[in-house]
């Protein structure tokens, strides 16, 4: 069993420093471009970002989908991920990045995302994203956040509550239920931190 202390020790001892991602170009075999489209999205601060080039490439990331007015799984999932952000500390925004992409891009525009960010105490390094509806839908399908049953899939209030965790440089990916205990999500991040 891994104790909390051992977990923290393993994170502290992890070799990944701020320069890690920046210093090493991704190897040619990285499958990133194969996996990820590169549409332009908008952040809560109304900045334009390219999904693959700016958000994913050479980074350790956590990605989930949500929407501002969700009264289903989102409030608990977001609160959980806020704790994850606290546990990961200053590395978030430095070499680990968190992204939440809206499922309702027509309603959730940058001002709504900004409000959501402030309401939930989301700190820098965790970016909320919207964009063209078809781009958000493409990402949702490509990243595995569509239910195979079309009836279930149409029910946005019952959407997939998973957080995708990966190291793009190593092309290593896993996923956890977003309500997994925060320290277990942090531990999964540590496994990607090689």
């Amino acid at each position: 069993m891994i104790t909390r202390r051992a977990l923290m020790a393993s994170l502290a001892a992890a070799p990944l420093a701020a320069s890690h991602a920046a210093a090493e170009p991704p190897p040619a075999s990285t499958g990133g471009r194969r996996h990820f489209p590169n549409p332009t999205l908008l952040t809560q601060d109304n900045e334009r970002v390219a999904f693959y080039d700016d958000l994913m490439k050479s980074k350790i990331v956590l990605v989930n989908f949500f929407y501002v007015e969700c009264t289903g799984i989102c409030p608990a999932a977001t609160a959980n991920l806020v704790k994850v952000q606290e546990l990961l500390g200053e590395r978030v925004g430095r070499d680990i990045f968190m992204y939440s992409i809206t499922l309702k891009p027509l309603e959730d525009r940058p001002p709504q995302l900004k409000m959501y960010q402030e309401m939930h105490g989301i700190k820098p390094g965790w970016t909320l994203l919207t964009g063209q509806a078809e781009d958000c839908e493409l990402l949702r399908r490509r990243l595995g956040f569509a239910d195979i049953d079309p009836v279930v899939d149409r029910d946005v209030g019952n959407h997939i509550g998973v957080v995708l965790i990966g190291n793009e440089r190593l092309d290593s990916w896993a996923a956890c239920p977003a309500q997994t205990e925060p320290k277990q999500i942090v531990r999964t991040v540590s496994w990607m931190d090689r």
Partner: protein, 543 residues
């Protein structure tokens, strides 16, 4: 006997034989990966895994093992020095990256392999011969792509102590090793060896990686092999009149089935972003895509293993000849059962005897998969005609007498004493918000969901929550006895098992006799994509 015309009669077109139409997850949205190679079937011979040899033998065999790198565990073994448990054979396994040729028409593929091979080497173990296996993790630290260079090795249906069970949380990293102790003892040995029952003997087991959250990736990368356990009845010698005389030697053939997708470089593709379950568009059998096998006109024992990750099979012979099933999940049945179609779920083992004696030299007969499956939910229930050919059997000449037997009785199961049941538990396997749950909860390595008292009996109800999903449920520690399926009797070939396949909405009751060891164990869905996404519980066996 089986001519081209016959093939057409059975509906096997030339087109079918030259490949098969991909049917796999997410195929409908056009996003799913496809193998860009045409692989001509039946141009390579069925490979047979190497048989593992011990590194050292005798009472001091463990002391003689190499100690390269850091020992990650375990801290201590249960029953290690007890008479009958102390290892007399010690093995080393080098878990490393290697190149493997799945088909001559494709470039070699990078794999993770036990001793760098896929399938891993076959262990041939015997009751009464305790062994220790030292697993060296020599996977590359800087590995790129699916699979993680961190392992824990599970002997599937081995009656082993928790610390040797490949518990998912007991993973160890590159540059470290872990010792698994397989005492090869009868269940119940710790209480009173005189009370043990050879009816509990298990025979066809397999070993595979069980790394927490990465089992699907690491097994798909190649970490799987057979562990065959022999006893006085299933003794591995068809000429021994004191045993069952089942086909042995070259006529006892393990076959592991795994479906895969490859990219333009011939590298295996793992779809990370499909949490339903993944299907391949190439069938591999013992690591070869659609091989042929030369067979003699006599009886063979085949040990079928579905290594997943998510595909179910319905095995049949192309001419409709029945197979004689003799074991389920590695346990000999009370009596053989003739079956035209043998269905198998992920991680199940079905041992069958096929008698080729009626065929003529030059005849060809095909092992087919007739199960229709289009996504990770499970088989649709439709039996395809003819289905997809997996292996071409080519009948050759044989100038000796086949002395092997299909005995009318095999192994009488041990008694089930239901009067001593001390606990009943109920588990529902479900899906909500795209998350896989057991009784509504996701796996937490730190949460013990059941406290089982060692050396007691329990009845568990396993229920599929529905939604059109199939879940092959596997329980570590002790195999179980199937008591009922959907309120009625279990299927004829289901008694002693370690996997309960739950089709949509199904429910089974199983009986356990939890014996001997203590510590944490798991129950999980063996659609390993579901398992890795938290469809698992921890239960602890306690004093």
């Amino acid at each position: 006997m089986l001519t081209r015309r016959d093939l057409l009669k059975y509906g096997i077109s030339t087109a079918t034989l030259s490949g098969f139409a991909p049917r796999f997850a997410r195929g409908d949205d056009g996003d799913g990966p496809r193998t860009p190679f045409v692989t001509k079937p039946f141009i390579q011979e069925l490979p047979l895994p190497l048989v593992k040899s011990p590194f050292s033998t005798g009472p001091n065999c463990v002391a003689g093992l190499p100690t390269v790198g850091v020992k990650a565990g375990p801290g201590a073994h249960q029953f290690f020095d007890q008479p009958g448990c102390a290892p007399t054979l010690a093995y080393t396994v080098d878990v490393r990256e290697a190149l493997h040729q799945f088909h001559p028409d494709m470039p070699a593929t990078k794999i993770f392999g036990y001793d760098g091979t896929f399938p891993g080497p076959t262990f041939r173990a015997h009751y009464g011969e305790p062994i220790l296996v030292r697993f060296f993790n020599n996977l590359p630290k800087d590995h790129v792509g699916f699979g993680i260079p961190s392992i824990t090795t599970h002997l599937h249906n081995g009656h082993t102590a928790s610390e040797s069970d490949g518990y998912p949380g007991n993973f160890h990293d590159s540059g470290t090793y872990w010792d698994n102790h397989y005492p090869n003892v009868l269940n119940g040995f710790s209480k009173d060896p005189q009370e043990t029952n050879t009816a509990d003997c298990m025979n066809t087991l397999w070993y595979h990686d069980h790394r927490l959250d990465f089992t699907a990736q690491n097994v798909y990368a190649g970490l799987a092999g057979f562990y065959l356990l022999f006893d006085d009845s299933d003794c591995g010698d068809e000429t021994n009149g004191n045993g069952l005389q089942l086909p042995s030697g070259e006529f006892d053939v393990p076959m592991v089935f795994g479906d895969k997708v490859f990219d333009a470089d011939g590298q295996a593709v793992f779809d990370f972003f499909n949490l339903d379950g993944i299907l391949g568009d190439k069938y591999t059998i013992n690591g070869a895509i659609q091989p042929f096998m030369n067979v003699k006109p006599r009886k063979y024992r085949f040990r079928f293993l579905d290594a997943g990750p998510s595909r179910f099979y319905a095995f049949a012979l192309s001419d409709g000849t029945q197979m004689i099933q003799i074991a389920n999940d590695g346990n000999l049945l009370a009596a053989p059962i003739a079956r035209s179609v043998v269905t198998i779920g992920v991680a199940e083992r079905h041992d069958v005897i096929i008698d080729f004696s009626k065929y003529l030299v030059g005849d060809r007969v095909y092992l087919m998969n007739r199960a229709e499956q289009t996504d990770g939910r499970g088989p649709t229930g439709t039996l395809l005609t003819p289905g997809d050919p997996l292996v071409e059997f080519r009948v050759t000449s044989f100038d000796r007498t086949d002395v092997s037997q299909i005995p009318s009785t095999l192994r009488t199961p041990p008694p089930k004493d239901l009067t001593q049941v001390v606990a009943r538990r109920s588990w529902e396997f479900n899906r909500g918000n795209g998350q896989w749950t057991v009784n509504g909860k996701i796996f937490n390595n730190d949460e013990v969901r059941a406290h089982v008292k060692c050396n007691t009996r329990e009845i568990w109800t396993l229920k599929n929550g529905g939604g059109g999903w199939s879940h092959p449920i596997h329980i570590h520690y002790e195999e179980f006895r199937m008591l009922s399926r959907n309120g009625g009797p279990p299927l004829a070939f289901e008694d002693r098992k370690d996997i309960a396949v739950l089709g949509p909405g199904e429910e089974v009751q199983v009986f356990f006799n939890f014996r001997d060891f203590q510590g944490p164990y798991v129950m999980h869905c063996h659609n390993v994509v579901h398992e890795d996404h938290a469809m698992m519980i921890r239960f602890d066996v306690e004093p």
